[in-house]
């Protein structure tokens, strides 16, 4: 997800200055430990949003301290936000490094694929244990948003673990099949069909 659209959403809620925007983003994702976005990143994103005409400066706020610029969303910004809301998020399951590792391990015969599977499984379980522990510590009365995020992480991990079990169970079949190779491209000019 882009920080850009998250900031637009927070400005659609109400106009804010940069510092406030950074704090609001952090609160939304359940703390910097979940998603660390630096204040500098917020300011540079704001600058790009302004250039694109999606955000404008609405005035200055001064309460004792230095002046702060208040930013507000523009009508174009709202349209961009609407478009974002109506587009599903693409999960990137195809770019799986483990899958590539396993296939190459089968192709090269360098390592026993079981070793690779077991190492991955242990690591996934360690992650799931960490998520479970964090979830148990979270207070359902005040940190429900954070709990939902942790649940999502846990369920992704569970899915990965189940898939890994399936890979293990079908490894012998996979081994017997040739690895996908690129289609040979015909040389020279394509022949004209008659």
């Amino acid at each position: 997800m882009s920080v850009r659209c998250a900031l637009l959403g927070l400005l659609a809620q109400r106009p804010r200055h940069g510092y406030e925007l950074h704090a609001a983003f952090e609160a939304l994702v359940g703390g910097a430990e979940n998603w660390d976005v630096s204040p500098a990143q917020v300011y540079s994103t704001l600058a790009r949003l302004k250039e694109a005409g999606l955000v404008r400066e609405e005035g200055l706020e001064q309460e004792g301290g230095p002046e702060k610029v208040i930013h507000a969303i523009t009508p174009a910004g709202r349209r961009e936000l609407e478009a974002w809301f109506s587009t599903p998020v693409r999960a990137e399951h195809q770019r799986d490094e483990f899958f590539v590792k396993l296939m190459l391990c089968l192709a090269t015969g360098e390592v026993d694929p079981m070793t690779v599977i077991y190492a991955q499984r242990a690591s996934l379980y360690q992650e799931l244990h960490a998520v479970t522990t964090q979830r148990a510590r979270a207070d359902p009365r005040s940190e429900l948003a954070h709990i939902l995020l942790l649940d999502q992480a846990a369920m992704h991990l569970e899915a990965d673990l189940r898939w890994l079990d399936m890979v293990e169970a079908r490894l012998d079949e996979v081994r017997r099949q040739p690895l996908p190779e690129p289609q040979p491209r015909p040389r020279g000019r394509p022949r004209r069909a008659r």
């Binding site: 379980y125 992650e127 799931l128 569970e158 673990l161």
Partner: protein, 245 residues
């Protein structure tokens, strides 16, 4: 000393051509205060392992020792006594007695072991309170939800103050929310009440509550994963994953 130790533990069911090896030379060590999960595909021998460790069944060869006591050296009576006093069992389908109230179910094993009814009652009250069911002591099993019934079963397992709890698919009959509550309770059994838990499960979510997972396949231990300590990377990985979301 390990609380559970098995050496070349083997179990064969049937004879001759019909013989099926459920467990093949399994060496296992569980230290006091550990929460260990046993996982593996169905038919891998995980329930057989639990039954042999709990003295519910005798091995074909190899041995099981609890706190250094070799179970094969015990008579049936002595084994029954040891099971009643030193092991608490938790089953998938709770195994509560339908006509008895929650408190009576929890007190029953103590009464059978010769504890005075009064003492048994107070132990039952104590443990039902600890598992969060102090307001359900007079309910019969059919008046309780699945999760509550399993809590009663856990209270019953703990009432005789055993050092070891053996749990066979304790969340297998529960929805994921009740399952999480039971796993959290088993975590407390280890962390708060300092018992040892050996649990069989096929659910990754539940296994992840443990400190260590043992993977069985075709009756042998094929892998083992330690989930706590020595892996600072896990927290970092979790953070990375949250960023990827």
């Amino acid at each position: 000393m390990a609380i559970v130790e098995t050496k070349e533990l083997t179990k064969v069911y049937g004879r001759g051509d019909a013989a099926v090896t459920a467990l093949r030379k399994v060496d296992l060590r569980v230290e006091p205060g550990e929460f260990v999960a046993v996982m593996g595909p169905s038919g891998c021998g995980k329930s057989t392992l639990l039954h042999l460790v709990g003295g519910l069944d005798r091995p074909t060869s190899g041995r099981v020792a609890l706190n250094g006591q070799d179970l094969s050296e015990l008579s049936d009576d002595a084994l029954t006594r040891l099971r009643r006093r030193e092991i608490g069992f938790v089953f998938q389908f709770y195994n509560l007695i339908p006509v008895l109230k929650a408190a009576e179910n929890v007190a029953l094993p103590l009464v059978l072991d010769g504890v005075s009814p009064r003492k048994a009652q107070s132990q039952a009250q104590l443990w039902l309170e600890r598992v969060g069911l102090s307001d359900r002591t007079d309910h019969r099993p059919d008046e309780l939800s699945g999760g509550q019934q399993q809590r009663v079963a856990i209270a019953r397992a703990l009432a005789s103050e055993p050092a070891l709890i053996l749990a066979d698919e304790p969340t297998g009959n529960l929805d994921s929310r009740a399952g999480d509550e039971i796993a959290t309770l088993l975590r407390r059994v280890v962390d708060e009440w300092k018992r040892t838990v050996l649990m069989v499960t096929h659910d990754p979510r539940i296994a992840a509550y443990a400190d260590r997972i043992i993977f069985l396949k075709d009756g042998t231990v094929v892998d083992e994963a330690r989930l706590v300590g020595g892996n600072d990377g896990a927290e970092k990985l979790v953070r990375q994953r949250m960023e990827d979301l």
